[in-house]
């Protein structure tokens, strides 16, 4: 009897989750696997970077300084020349991730924001618009 009550409560709770909340969780899960595949080699799974060679993503000023639109374009096209993270210069370049499309970007940016920035969903429409406007 107690069990049935518990299950009932869980079902009730789950159905209370808003559609946005479910979508957010989906994006985070998908985004994590995209991150592992395309980003973690250099930036590491925990976003800590690799010494002075590859910049960290966790605990950085990036999440305040770089807009989501800029971020999407950097990921898509890569980056050449010097960049700065937390005021520290990093040389070299970041390879392009030309294969990542709008849905991947939405999931990836949502995941990264969940981990290191504002816990906010980055929508498919926003990602699509950002990709269109990349220079």
């Amino acid at each position: 009897m107690k069990n049935i009550l518990a299950i009932g409560l869980i079902v009730l709770f789950a159905s209370c989750q808003s559609k946005e909340e479910i979508l957010y969780q989906q994006y985070v899960v998908e985004g994590r696997s995209i991150y592992e595949k395309n980003c973690s080699n250099c930036h590491q799974s925990d976003g800590s970077g690799l010494r002075d060679l590859y910049p960290p993503l966790a605990k950085t000023d990036l999440w305040k300084r770089v807009s989501q639109e800029q971020l999407v374009c950097i990921i898509k096209q890569g980056q050449k020349g010097n960049s700065q993270v937390n005021g520290k210069p990093y040389a070299g370049y970041m390879p392009a991730n030309a294969k990542l499309e709008a849905i991947d970007m939405a999931e990836l940016v949502t995941f990264m924001q969940d981990q290191w920035g504002n816990k906010k969903v980055y929508s498919f429409d926003e990602a699509k618009a950002a990709l269109k406007n990349c220079r």
Binding site: N41, L50, R51, Y54, G92
Partner: protein, 209 residues
């Protein structure tokens, strides 16, 4: 029940055998072997890394002579590699840090893009990783010589491929070489677990005379 002294002795002997077998784990000799008969005796000639000479990140020549009496780990990479190299370097750093004060263990990272990876590029790369020669040499030189050494001697693939991200295919292997330049183990340098095995095997090699 009382055990007879002889039974106890046998038990002791067997357990001694088991313990000594575990302690004496040895590593295989990898690569093609030759046998030579001289004066009625059969000698096995093990595969050996041939003489080599490349420039390192400090523009200093590094040759097989410098590795005499040293255990070393060889790998192939290039600094602009977008795929597995960063993973390999993360793992090599574990080895570098672990043996930072042991002069008997060295790392030789060969660039397979030597035209781009000049000594000064390698110097920047090494500095940013906080590593130094001679413990960790980043090597560059004649491309054909590096590729040949990689494929024929270290038994790994290394070649240009325009379809591959970064323009080169290469294996993520770490090759463990003993004091006499015999290959004693090959490991997947992108996998932490495999590199744990490599570290265990370095320990075994360090015990070898």
């Amino acid at each position: 029940m009382q055990l007879k002294p002889i039974v106890l002795n046998v038990l002791f002997f067997v357990s001694f055998l088991i313990v000594s077998c575990q302690e004496k784990k040895t590593l295989p000799f990898l690569g093609p072997k030759e046998t030579r008969v001289s004066a009625g005796k059969v000698d096995t000639i093990y595969h050996q890394i041939p003489a080599f000479r490349f420039l390192n990140q400090d523009s200093v020549w590094v040759s097989d002579q410098d590795m005499a009496g040293k255990i070393y780990i060889a790998d192939f990479f290039f600094t602009s590699c977008p795929t597995i190299c960063p993973k390999m370097k993360t793992q090599l750093l574990r080895i570098y840090d672990r043996y930072a004060s042991n002069d008997a263990v060295r790392i030789l990272s060969h660039s397979i893009d030597p035209a781009f990876d000049t000594p000064s590029v390698l110097n920047q790369y090494a500095k940013r990783l906080h590593v130094k020669a001679p413990r960790w040499n980043m090597l560059t030189g004649d491309k054909a010589a590096i590729y040949k050494l990689g494929e024929k001697s270290y038994m790994v693939t290394a070649q240009e491929d325009k379809n591959e991200a970064g323009g080169f295919v290469h294996s993520g292997a770490f090759i463990l070489v003993d004091k006499n330049r015999h290959v004693r183990g090959i490991y997947d340098g992108t996998q932490e677990v495999e590199v744990n095995h490599l570290i265990e095997d370095i320990e075994i090699l360090l015990q070898e005379k």
